[in-house]
Symmetry: C2
Subunit: 210 residues, 2 copies
DNA sequence: GTGGAATTGGGCCGATCGACCCATTGAACG
DNA sequence: CGTTCAATGGGTCGATCGGCCCAATTCCAC
């Protein structure tokens, strides 16, 4: 079964796969449709795009895997994104391919998935390794951090809307210490007030913006 | 000739077009390659993706149109973006299709382009109309703005790193007026200081973060 | 075990901020 | 012609901010 919001890509894939001898039972254009269709058609393998309207591919995989664990879902994506890859694997995806691969590779991936193997684009193998390295070696990120953990906590609370005394209360420290941390941040981020410091931190991805 | 950075899509397109009776002279994976290959192969029509590495589709169209004005270039895109559409048309594109269309529609577009007609996805016809309406009726956006023009200017300058006296100097108004505008913004955006106001404005897309 | 960095905290002071009053002008709308 | 609202500005006042001086503790690395 094919799931992608672009009919052009679905039709191209269907031709390629049918030429390879596969039966394409159905096509869906978004995640919701995919979940319904998967429960009805019970295909052996689903090729599913990650980015789709209504429901993205990752959530669709999660639901399909809950309802029909025997269906093998191979994800398709435009870019080798480690985060999405990790989410998809956790959601129960059986494979992950970047769209820039040949029809032969796709056919191979579908066969592997049908046999219970996990198919992964070669581009993603290296991405996976980097991801594992990152997860297994957190101290290294500790080294080159610009602001310290505490300074980051202060920044995040300021970004969340806290005033100096509120930050102090939440961290169980004095207002003076909060101001000291901020002063340190101003130097490091080349900011002259908390507004600029928080904006820089947002730009650098140090703090999140709910 | 086909230009897209995803081999999967190129192969699917090639199959579909060849089944329709077209000759595909060549495939390119990025803009630079496309410009070189177009000058060499001199195809009648080029189907080109907008988003590509090395050189995007719009710039590639511009160069191809300069060197070989007789080549008709039909743009392909994932989303109906009016800005990109306008840029592509100015760059000399002969057509513009969203990828979510059938192979029949693509074949029709190629035939129309070859005949010197301009092909446009039906989805884009409405987008074009909206674009025209937007350009011809700018006052409507003035109505439902949360913050006023002046307040927005103040917010942007604060986000750019200006202090109150600096904002006043740049806008040729007094510091007091700047503070008045800010006080008004605090109410409207439910913020209690400039930091929160700017963050809210960023979240709402009112100000940009260079 | 010594040195550096992080975290904590103090005081002081001038500058700035935000809240709360207020007034005037001009443009827009009915 | 009156009303509304944006934009301009004034003043005051307490709270906060940021810079600059300082020091104690802890913890990690070399």
């Amino acid at each position: 079964m094919l799931v992608d919001d672009h009919r052009m890509l679905r039709e191209g894939l269907r031709r390629s796969l049918e030429d390879e001898g596969f039966d394409v039972l159905g096509e869906a254009a978004d995640g919701l449709e995919a979940v319904r269709m998967a429960a009805e058609l019970r295909p052996e393998v689903i090729l599913m795009d990650v980015t789709m309207p209504e429901m993205d591919g990752v959530e669709a995989v999660r639901r399909i895997h809950e309802e029909c664990p025997e269906i093998r879902v191979v994800m398709l994506t435009m870019h080798a994104d480690a985060d999405v890859l990790a989410q998809a694997i956790r959601a129960g995806a059986a494979g992950y391919l970047v769209k820039d691969c040949s029809t032969d590779e796709i056919a191979d991936a579908v066969r592997m998935a049908a046999n219970g193997d996990t198919a992964l684009s070669p581009q993603l193998a290296s991405t996976m390794l980097e991801e594992l390295r990152r997860l297994n070696a957190p101290p290294e990120t500790e080294e080159d951090r610009l602001v310290t953990k505490r300074e980051e906590e202060v920044l995040q609370l300021i970004a969340d809307g806290c005033s100096t005394p509120e930050v102090a209360a939440k961290l169980y420290i004095s207002q003076k210490t909060v101001k000291n941390h901020l002063a340190s941040v101003y130097q490091k981020l080349d900011a002259r007030d908390r507004t600029q410091a928080v904006l820089m931190a947002v730009r650098m991805g140090i703090v999140r913006l709910d």
